[in-house]
Amino acid sequence: MHVASLSLTDFRSYPAVELDLEPGATAFVGPNGQGKTNLIEAVGYLATHSSHRVATDAPLVRQGAQRAIIRSVVVKDDRRALIELEINPGRANRARVNRSPVPRPREALGLLRTVLFAPEDLALSKGDPSERRKFLDDLLVARAPRFAGVRADYDRVLKQRNALLRTAATTRIGRRRGSRKQDDDAAFAAAGAGDVMSTLEVWDSHLVRHGAELLAGRLDLVEALRPLAAKAYATLAPSSAPAGLEYRSSAGEDQADDKLSTDVSVLGINREDLAERLRAGLAEVRQAELDRGVTLVGPHRDDLLLTLGDLPARGYASHGESWSFALALRLAAYDLLRSDGGDPVLILDDVFAELDDQRRRRLTDIVAPAEQVLITAAVPDDVPAQLAGSRFDVTEGSVLRVR
């Protein structure tokens, strides 16, 4: 697929901009801070309904404006779809496909698929587990939009359960204090605590149900990614140790032989087994959860362990290796989406400047055959010759086609 046109209204620095795009490589060139990344960020947002740069939508709307609008014609197998997305910070976004409104914006997901490479990707290999969870979950949603619902449900259950655990924590403190002061207080607090325990079991069962579904999806995904990431990494860094992926579940963390017991993929992907495992994991940490007032077991505490040979990449990998691993994960995602049907649009945000010559060449070889590649670069020399297609110069918010 490819993006045939992009039009922005009040998005980031742009009051209004309209571009026609072609298949093949397109470079946006200009000094930093002129609005290159804003353009490709909009394309990425249209595909995922989230930005690769910020967690909230408010910064996406131009200062002083109420809402931002992204409008784009996406061509897939010679079929054109006009996707329009209105970003309303703090409220629900609205989407239209071919001029008809869709009831939920997420139903417009999947019409455009992108794989975005950015300097921020380094966090995939060097950053917190949350970065890798987001990578997995975003990809999960891109492959099967149903998971957008699973993810939202899980997050909601988690919030409710955490709120309950916090109440439990304060009631317990209240009870301890109350027993010294007034009997009435103590009785009240004790009743509250019983209340908490009985509802906690209910939230446990819902956390386990939605958690097992999310976990099953992630495990399935990791299995599919593993060979692709290893292959991509070997191409980018042929002299390095082989790259591996291992899913680490927070359920069963305390067990002694940690490697086997936490790599849940050895269990096979059976939702019943996973649910049982989560239930057991929750039972184990019950006391700690009540003390700390947060949910300690579940997909929200899991990690995707990246390995090079026998060593974890985090902490042991060099800067270059970390970069290669991050790129390999993105390339694996690209391969996976491509094998599902429909060549996703590749977006390379300021990536080439970060790479040495060898990696730059290898990455170019991999991405060149893609149907459409959108590139941003500070200077024209950062765009490899093989990817010299259309070019736009971006300066002070004006976007001019050069060729």
């Binding site: 409710q160 109440t167 908490v196 509802t199 209910v202 939230w203 819902h206």
Partner: protein, 199 residues
């Protein structure tokens, strides 16, 4: 900002559910332009509803007397109780004319974020109604969202020792709809809740 009293009215109206600042302003100016008698009637209705309406001492539904119309109706089946979150759910189910049992209005759903636990709902009252063994079926008709599901699970567990039949409203495809227009979550639920077709 408008002069004191007008702004007060707009602010008060803006606190109502479903009324944004723009709507509040529109309603306020509509009231300013209306006949004094009409406005008095509205004000009277507002005050009256607070003074006169009570909650049924049996089921918790809104009632004009100590017990609501449904609880007083001897023709209703006392063996089946349908549990709902709000009085407006009773109205919705009554419209179907399918259900001839009695209701129990919880007054909400369990939601720790909003500080609502089982003790804040009319669950103790429900248990008291179940105590005499006359009820044989409990229909859990809380909303099909996370909080409603959690409340249903909680109640199902709570009444399990009583050994009565506990059912949950089906969720899935809307009647008369097209399969292709159903969203993935609903369709997924419908798959989970599929049933044997007996012919």
């Amino acid at each position: 900002m408008y002069e004191g009293v007008v702004q007060n009215l707009i602010d008060e109206l803006g606190l109502l559910p479903g009324v944004g600042p723009k709507s509040a302003q529109r309603i306020a100016f509509h009231l300013l332009a209306a006949e004094p008698a009409d406005v008095k009637r509205l004000a009277h209705a507002l005050l009256e509803v607070k003074e006169k309406v009570r909650f049924c001492r049996i089921c918790g539904n809104v009632a004009a007397e100590a017990e609501c119309r449904i609880c007083r109706d001897q023709r209703r089946d006392p063996q089946v109780i349908c549990v709902v979150e709000e009085s407006k759910d009773v109205v919705a189910i009554e419209k179907t004319r399918e259900f001839r049992g009695r209701y129990h209005v919880l007054g909400g759903a369990i939601s720790p974020i909003d500080g609502v636990g089982p003790d804040d709902l009319k669950i103790r009252e429900l248990m008291a109604r179940l105590a005499d063994g006359q009820v044989t079926e409990l229909i859990l008709a809380t909303d099909p969202n996370l909080e409603g599901e959690a409340t249903a699970t909680y109640l199902a567990r709570l009444v399990k020792p009583l050994g009565l039949k506990v059912t949950r409203l089906a969720s899935g495809l809307p009647v008369g709809g097209d399969l292709e227009y159903a969203d993935e979550v609903t369709l997924g639920r419908a798959f989970e809740g599929r049933r044997l077709l007996d012919v």
